[in-house]
Symmetry: C2
Subunit: 193 residues, 2 copies
DNA sequence: AAATGACGTTAACCTAGGGTAACTATGCTA
DNA sequence: TAGCATAGTTACCCTAGGTTAACGTCATTT
């Protein structure tokens, strides 16, 4: 259960066995079945969730009633709503599972305690945040400069593992296009390549 | 010079006078004249820049030769390319000034030293990153769900101070539309409101 | 076996915003 | 003072992607 988390953390900081043992005590294992919710919009996102197994998404519904996917998460990723989590405000996002999933949850207070107990974790979370921030900057610039087709190809290249695990219409939503457009793009690509 | 920085930091963490004094030693004051560059794409973004006075932007040029603005910065904001800065890679962004500007620069090594000397700064930078990450998430969701006109109105509302200090075409670029479209949107708004 | 309901595909039509270009207005620079 | 570059506006036409709707294919339920 904790093995993937161990590897995940060691990618960013060094930890002794004892430190890792200690750190695991702050996490709460949790299963979320297919189609079930980890977070419902309107609630506060109490947990940052590390995905040990499975596949989930976070999404909002806008004023026009349209769903927009903020993020997918599979093994070795985190999912949550950072705004709600850090600011303790009701979330506009919902998070649900595409597959039966196993998570390790870390609530805000535990994160704080963990950082106090093992100060290296302050650095770990800073690095994590950094990576996420950089990725979201990239997504912004791509949405400004690339066509739907280019964004789709980039998605395939960057996240092949996700592509094969979520319905196409979800990918369309992530890319900011309709499922019909994505279908057209795929047809066009299959003809011309 | 350092007064604004002091207030800026105190918004997020507590600092004694001595600690603040010490922290200032890590920053390098720098002036950038109107139309001059702080960073040119291809170079490594060696500094995170805190804006004491002035107005700057960071932008990329895509394969099609189009400029896209990643960020504006005025007083009390930071500007830089986090990817290049933290990963020590050549940047795809350039940063230049719309007005004569005064900055306080913090290079990577100094940031590291500062965090070691006054560990509270590890937290400060984490909070800063957090705020930026949350803001960029919001920008992503907005670009997925809002029309150009809605995004323009949001921009006006969120950043009125920037609106009045940069050319319209720069705002268009930030919003991901052409200057012509922005002009049309403005005409439409002036008629219907 | 039939019914229901996701999902993906295709087609016909529509619209927000892009591309090009002409015309101002406002600087700078010589 | 002219000359030139940059910014903003408007108009015309065009295109990427949205909208609506029909149809086929699965998988799940009854």
């Amino acid at each position: 259960m904790f093995d993937l988390l161990r590897k995940h953390i060691l990618k960013r900081i060094d930890l002794t066995k004892a430190e890792f043992q200690q750190c695991t005590t702050y996490f709460i294992p949790k299963r979320v079945r297919k189609h079930r919710y980890l977070l419902e919009s309107g609630d506060v996102s109490r947990y940052a969730a590390f995905v040990v197994k499975g596949c989930l998404r976070s999404y909002t519904i806008d004023q026009a009633g349209e769903e927009h996917i903020a993020q997918f998460a599979i093994e070795d990723w985190w999912i949550g709503d950072p705004y709600s989590y850090f600011e303790n405000q009701p979330s506009v996002y919902s998070i649900d599972a595409f597959e039966d999933s196993e998570l390790l949850l870390l609530d805000r207070a535990s994160m704080e305690k963990l950082c106090l107990a093992i100060p290296k974790f302050e650095r770990f979370f800073r690095l994590l945040l950094q990576a996420n921030f950089i990725a979201s900057q990239r997504r912004i610039m791509q949405s400004l400069s690339a066509t739907a087709e280019e964004r789709y190809l980039q998605f395939l290249k960057n996240y092949p593992a996700i592509f094969s695990r979520v319905p196409q219409k979800q990918i369309a939503s992530y890319l900011g296009i309709t499922p019909q457009s994505l279908s057209r793009i795929r047809r066009h690509l299959s003809k011309h390549a």
